[in-house]
Amino acid sequence: MKVYVNDTPVNILPGMTVKHALIHAGLLKDIESSKKVYDEWGNEIGLDGALSEGLKIYVK
């Protein structure tokens, strides 16, 4: 399954979550420094949130 983290494509397994996409993108540590994850509509999402094909998420 391909999702986009800060517009960079990331391949993860179906069933994997936001956390896994951030691990893949090397951005999980950014969350420790108070950054948050948002979906493409600007909603905050939890690290255990399910992803779907082609979804764009942003760390900011």
């Binding site: 397994l13 893949h24 909603n43 999402i45 939890g46 399910a50």
Partner: protein
């Protein structure tokens, strides 16, 4: 002619005035949570200093809101699995909680299947509210919908769970079940219920993205109360004529949606999330007592003996050499997944266990992270690449140092990067660079954690995934059990064996 029109108009208005139901407008409230995952107590979310959540605080707020107007209390799934508070009673604690809170309905979430169908059936039988799953075939205890009269308004609630459920739990948990498309299921039941109810709600566990698509494609849905993506929808979203809401996760928010209904139509809506924080004196004491009761049970379970270790289990040296605890854990992973070999990062293992009684809490301390087992096909060349990466930062004490099962190798620290590892044997035969082997690992490494790129390459090469007979089939991925933490698999193994005495066998040898 003008006079005739006036008479017709008068008669029409007179008839309308005789119908009080149509003349009145009603207000109803929908309260909702999703993806609770057993987080009964307040906690510090990753990266936050602030304590959030706490089901006793949420309940107190919920009760206040319920008293203000006629309401419906809904859960959009993934309630019974996740946190130890839920896991160690296989979700019994959560159902007791939900019964006390007087939920009107919940949709089954993908993680509700994680303890197996027998446990799920038991939980459904304990629930004093319907558990919905309109697109699931094979589990008769799930109801497709329910209709409830709220303040004279007939509200239909249809439950829909993600079609991806079979890829996010162990295949045996969904054996014999079929998960149908959200869209076709919603169309079928909306058509069936449109003349039987004033308001149609989809209680969805398919994620916010899919909720939006569903609203675009299926007419006649008034409200989607969502879950699965853990999305904090602070204000309701309107897609076409459908209102979409979702209340984040882990009881950190309570969703509130107020609807004004007239002539069977929503004429006005207002929604928001109430963030939940622990504040002394603002808890519901009945629910707090349930939280405390199961907390004590968790403590008792953590102190249960699972077996005996005849030797000290070394978790201290896992970042620089082969250890017997690393061997035990990787052996369990290989055994559980049926893989040829297993590789994990030493950093997964956080402490040692002394010789003697092994308790649940000892294993939880060794494996504190919520990791699960994944098995992926890697070529011999990719395995070598993974091992090279694993031994590339020993001096730094990096967590990437591998612990392995089903293979042995030698490495030379002083050799050039990419040439440190040699003499790799799998099943006592030299590794074939072009042959594919099934490699068990944890989800952290499979996602590329600790810089392990080889698994990611295999996932990328795996192409499309499909679900055949309830099992995920990908070209490279052969096993993924996200509903069972690795520590619980290790506990089951030790319980089965009763006594363990793993040794260091020369799986990893440093040469000078």
């Amino acid at each position: 002619m003008k006079n005739l029109n006036s008479v017709i108009c008068f008669i029409f208005l007179f008839i309308l005035s005789l119908s009080p139901v149509h003349a009145e407008q009603c207000e109803i409230r929908i309260l909702h949570i999703n993806d609770f995952h057993g987080f009964a107590e307040p906690y510090n979310p990753f990266g936050s200093d602030e304590m959030l959540g706490g089901i006793a605080y949420l309940t107190a707020r919920m009760n206040a809101l319920l008293n203000e107007k006629p309401s419906l209390l809904l859960s959009a799934g993934d309630m019974i699995q996740g946190n130890n508070w839920a896991n160690l009673s296989q979700g019994e604690s959560v159902i007791e909680l939900m019964n006390t809170m007087k939920f009107d309905a919940m949709v089954v979430g993908n993680h509700e299947f994680d303890f197996g169908q027998d446990v799920l059936k038991k939980r459904i039988s304990e629930a004093k509210f319907p558990v919905l799953g309109a697109n699931v075939e094979g589990l008769d205890m799930l109801e497709p919908f329910m209709i409830k009269d709220i303040n004279g308004i007939k509200v239909a609630v249809i439950g829909i769970v993600t079609e991806d459920t079979p890829v996010s739990t162990h295949p045996r948990n969904v054996s014999g079940l079929k998960f149908f498309s959200s869209e076709s299921t919603a169309k079928k039941y909306v058509t069936e219920l449109k003349n039987k109810a004033d308001i149609i709600i989809i209680l969805s566990h398919i994620g916010h993205h899919a909720d939006r698509i569903l609203a675009e494609r299926v007419r006649g849905i008034d409200v989607i109360v969502g879950g699965h993506s853990h999305t904090k929808v602070e204000k309701p979203v309107r897609v076409g004529n459908t209102i979409i809401v979702q209340a984040w996760e882990h009881a950190k928010a309570l969703g509130v949606l107020d609807l004004t209904v007239k002539d069977g139509k929503i004429t006005k809506f207002n929604g928001y999330l109430e963030e939940i924080k622990p504040e002394t004196g603002k808890e519901d004491n009945v629910v707090l007592a349930i939280v405390e009761k199961y907390k004590q049970k968790v403590d008792a379970v953590l102190n249960e003996k699972v077996g005996d270790a005849d030797v000290d289990l070394d978790g201290e040296n896992v970042r620089r050499k082969e250890t017997n605890l690393g061997n035990l854990i990787t052996d369990v992973m290989r055994y559980a997944s049926g893989a040829d070999i297993a590789i994990i990062n030493g950093g997964t293992i956080r402490t040692s266990i002394k010789k003697g009684e092994v308790k649940v809490k000892n294993v939880y301390s060794v494996l504190p992270f919520d990791n699960y087992i994944v098995a992926i096909k890697l070529t011999g060349k990719q395995i070598k690449k993974a091992l090279e990466h694993g031994v590339s930062a020993i001096e730094e004490g990096a967590g990437r140092f591998p612990q392995v099962s089903g293979l042995s190798f030698k490495y030379k620290r002083s050799a050039k990067t990419g040439e440190k590892v040699n003499e790799i044997l799998i099943a006592n035969k030299p590794i074939d660079p072009d042959k594919e082997y099934i490699v068990a690992t944890n989800d952290f490494l499979a996602a590329g954690g600790d810089g392990y790129e080889a698994f990611g390459e295999a996932i990328k090469a795996s192409g499309d995934f499909s679900i055949i007979g309830g099992v995920m089939k990908g070209e490279k991925v052969v096993y993924s059990d996200s509903g069972r933490w690795l520590r619980d698999v290790v506990i089951e193994y030790i319980k089965e064996k009763k006594r363990i005495d793993p040794t260091v066998e020369g799986r990893i040898t440093e040469i000078q």
